[in-house]
Symmetry: none
Subunit: 411 residues, 2 copies
């Protein structure tokens, strides 16, 4: 089944935003085994959007249009679909009521322009969009499926996975299903991992291996295709076992088991509470430790001692004038356990730049203190301020895990 993505928005043509929706949808479709031959981008112009839709339904089995279904005057996708298909525009009183309710729940009056979101080409199925006010749309036109989804990535992604892909799969009648297993690693480079799995990579196409690098973690994806999910998973099994044995403790999680989830599982097993004492990461580590539902059960909180006076007064650091220092990080972690009353505290100090401190920009020291042991580690990341901070957060979370499983570094 050939699926074509059409992204609507003048801001895309002007390069004010990058078309990440197209790549998100593209990879999701590829994973499901759908084919893609073309993508289009078109500005906020009714006639041109209609032309793009005509071209798309001409050469593809399904078209996914993202953007242009919001409440403002330059949201023209609904009209363009009518223009391209000759369908009449209909109005859904039911959805209009839903919209009024949405605004009422926020104790505000609904601007009239919002009502255009209750309009849709005749016969369209409205796809619920819990993250926004514009519903997705599915129109069956001749033998083509036309989907309209919002341009806001979070709303688009939800509709893509919950509504669009299931309907595409149903329509395609494709029996073969794709199953995949995601093995999450941290601590080895992508090329290093690729090298050590090269023989598996070359010797097998089903299951197949893929490597995804993101934010310091390397994910190994094993994908298999079979008549049903059970058989696909059976194909994956032996390769997974082999990869696991080669990766060892570098492998920290499976599928949606993020490092945060792993940490919370370990904390629960050990019946420990946790907190963070940060400077360079400015609160991002604590934010990660409070990102999961139910984290209040284990996370006490955190202190951001950005100013050195706070490091000394609140965390009892003996000399906070040296920022990038193993001793300072260990004192911060110990002091944090006292101040915040937590069993485990991770500390992060260092220089995110732009101006270097006593060590080069990107140098960071991360400390972990548990009832058993306290230890710090110096690391370095090259890149801008945001990149350095992100890397520091990921590293801090993974050093927490290593400490909790007793694999203290360089010990």
């Amino acid at each position: 089944m050939i699926v074509e993505v059409i992204a609507v928005g003048t801001e895309l043509l002007l390069g004010q935003i990058t078309n990440t929706n197209a790549s998100t949808i593209g990879s999701a479709l590829a994973e499901q085994g759908f084919d893609a031959h073309f993508q289009q981008v078109v500005g906020d112009n009714e006639a041109r959007v209609a032309e793009s839709i005509r071209v798309g339904i001409e050469r593809s089995d399904a078209v996914i249009i993202t953007g242009g279904i919001g409440p403002t005057q330059d949201d023209l996708t609904r009209e363009a679909v009518c223009l391209a298909t000759g369908l009449e525009m209909e109005f859904s009183d039911e959805y209009a009521d839903h919209l009024r309710g949405w605004w009422e729940r926020r104790g505000r009056e609904m601007p009239e322009s919002n009502l255009q979101q209750a309009e849709h080409p005749a016969g369209a199925e409205l796809l619920t969009n819990p993250k926004g006010t514009a519903p997705g749309l599915m129109i069956e036109h001749e033998d083509t499926l036309i989907f309209c989804v919002p341009g806001v990535p979070a709303e688009m992604e939800h509709l893509l996975h919950e509504e669009v892909i299931p309907r595409l799969s149903a329509a395609s009648g494709e029996k073969a299903v794709l199953a995949s297993r995601l093995l999450r690693t941290w601590g080895r480079s992508e090329s290093d991992i690729a090298d050590s799995l090269d023989d598996l990579y070359r010797s097998s196409t089903n299951p197949s291996l893929a490597f995804l690098a993101s934010g310091g973690e390397i994910k190994i994806r094993i994908t298999a295709k079979a008549d049903d999910r059970a058989s696909a998973l059976k194909l994956i099994e032996p390769m997974e076992t082999e990869v696991r044995s080669r990766m060892g403790s570098v492998l920290f999680g499976t599928d949606d088991e993020t490092i945060e989830r792993v940490i919370f599982r370990l904390l629960t097993e050990l019946d420990y509470t946790i907190a963070a004492a940060e400077s360079m990461t400015g609160g991002l580590v604590t934010a990660a430790l409070t990102s999961l539902p139910g984290s209040s059960a284990m996370t006490r909180g955190g202190i951001v001692a950005y100013h050195s006076e706070l490091k000394e007064r609140l965390l009892g650091v003996s000399d906070a004038s040296t920022v990038v220092d193993l001793e300072t990080a260990e004192e911060m972690a110990r002091g944090g356990r006292e101040l915040l009353g937590a069993d485990v505290v991770v500390s992060v100090t260092g220089s995110a730049g732009p101006e270097p401190l006593e060590k080069p920009v990107g140098t960071m020291v991360i400390g972990v203190s548990t009832p058993e042991h306290t230890q710090a580690k110096e690391m370095r990341m090259v890149g801008d301020r945001e990149r350095v901070r992100t890397y520091a957060v990921t590293s801090a979370l993974h050093l927490i895990r290593l400490a909790l499983i007793g694999k203290w570094w360089g010990r």
Copy 2:
């Protein structure tokens, strides 16, 4: 002059890489005042690339094709241009020698496959590519200009600015440039703003109005086209003045002036330091206050009092058992100023879900305490945990601004 970008590469369709070239070229063209109506993406398939080129030269005055001119088997753009235009393929002995020289200078023997980079549609002008081995191409076909540039961003950008744009400008003879002004607002919905500017939106095409919603903020973009930048800005002026007067203090920043920058400008003017005392946002507000280079000059740090015991012991909250409470938020803000030694402290408490506290999930109370005044505000956001937290952070930053400019809410 209408210019269309065609990006060639199956990896783009599969979402393995994002089409940043399209946005780079798009913004460069817009700056020069060229019009863009469509963009295309097509996989590494000769017939389909040719089809995209045909569509492009049909509806545009110039087509810029990026990708598919390298040395490997799946580089098919040159062939596709011939297929689309009916031009013969020619071979440049001169460029072949250049290629051999390129490899010799690196003391390596040239793989034969490299020679296809010396091929080009008859009559094409070869554009020097100092950053790689594949030359850019310019073909004048009937009354359309066809440019071929590499897909490697660094090579593409060099050719774009050094070779492509100058030739486009020469061909168009057009001097017009585009200028735009971004007005950033917070506190009113996109549709509400669109309604109140509807007459301006409909009455004017140059300058034109557009609305961009992101993370709780609504950006209003005014774009004008004129012979030179100064005249374009002059066209923008009256519309900007009108929009500013209608938006009032809802408008907080211009162009790249984010809320964080605005806060730091205000803090500098007032010679105040700042810190945060958070629970539901778990450190994200402090992270925002430390996100800018040089923020250490004004940001003391922050406390994440996630556990109620910390709210009481460290922040002196009288009764932290009620989480979503104006009194609690004000106590947190006052207590934060003492604990963290900051002139201004913002506090955030509430319920990010999934389990509701005394108020529905998504209810939050944000407090600001300055040397002049302390006040809290209750707000609500519907959505998942991440959305609620993001909304809370944005709201906290904007309430800081309102407090700093003396516009305390409901006073």
